[in-house]
């Protein structure tokens, strides 16, 4: 692990992951792919324009965190930001596949994101973060 630069409240990525899993799960259950595209857009805005533009991040910071009494635990921002970038890439690719009519391929990518986001939100096992730490930030 390299020098810690920016740090983030550990619950911000977890909340984002829970919201992504919920949104993609609902999209799949209702078979309504535009929700996948909207989720990709929300993630992309958070990742590239900053947390101030992140719908899920702001929902957590304004609605959830003020009600939490436990001290804020932080982690390095790099790994979750990389995982978020993977989410943007996968969900954007899925949206493009839906748009050209390749729904099976689109749902495959979207459900990969669903399973990894659900796993990260419920167990804190963030596969994108592990990939970042072991392969990119060596």
């Amino acid at each position: 692990m390299t020098a810690a630069s920016a740090r983030v409240d550990v619950n911000v990525p977890r909340f984002n992951q829970a919201m992504v899993a919920a949104a993609v799960g609902v999209a799949f259950a209702l078979h309504w792919w535009p929700l996948v595209a909207v989720t990709a857009g929300v993630l992309a805005l958070t990742r590239f324009a900053g947390p101030g533009w992140g719908l899920f991040t702001q929902a957590y910071l304004r609605l959830v965190r003020p009600r939490r009494r436990r001290p804020i635990e932080t982690e390095e921002a790099g790994p979750p930001r990389f995982a978020q970038l993977l989410g943007v890439v996968f969900l954007s690719a899925a949206s493009a596949l839906f748009a050209i009519g390749w729904s099976v391929a689109g749902w495959t990518l979207a459900l990969i994101v669903f399973s990894l986001a659900l796993l990260a939100a419920t167990t804190r096992i963030c596969v994108g973060c592990i990939f970042y730490e072991r392969v990119i930030d060596r």
């Binding site: 692990m1 810690a4 078979h31 635990e73 990894l116 419920t122």
Partner: protein
């Protein structure tokens, strides 16, 4: 069975499958533990409130700690009772200095001093 119920079952199967795969993978990872590397290692874990402050204090003291999760380390000596644990390890993997919990923060200067002698 309606398509909605079928899709919900697929979601449950995928979510459950990810859990089972992750559990299997974590058990495998648990068996392969990392040996101690030379230098300063900071052992962290979930819910460790002092980990961030200790890491920052070490960096301010000029020490670049190797931050490791408690479950992925092959740690000799007494079991860990409080996190973080700061370890100064020599080239042969021997622990020269070990400070746990609040002591890791209080003794940053001596950790840095010991690490400088490596």
């Amino acid at each position: 069975m309606t398509p909605l119920v079928l899709r919900l079952l697929v979601l449950v199967a995928i979510g459950g499958g990810a859990w089972i795969a992750a559990g299997w993978w974590q058990r495998r990872r648990g068996a392969i533990r990392l040996p101690l590397a030379a230098g300063v290692t900071l052992v962290t874990g979930p819910g460790c409130a002092l980990c961030g402050p200790v890491e920052r204090a070490l960096r301010r003291a000029g020490v670049q700690p190797r931050v490791t999760e408690v479950g992925s380390l092959d740690l000799p000596g007494p079991p860990i009772r409080s996190l973080p644990v700061a370890l100064v390890v020599d080239g042969s993997g021997r622990v020269l200095l070990r400070r746990s919990g609040r002591a890791a923060l209080d003794d940053v200067a001596s950790i840095a001093q010991r690490a400088a002698t490596l």
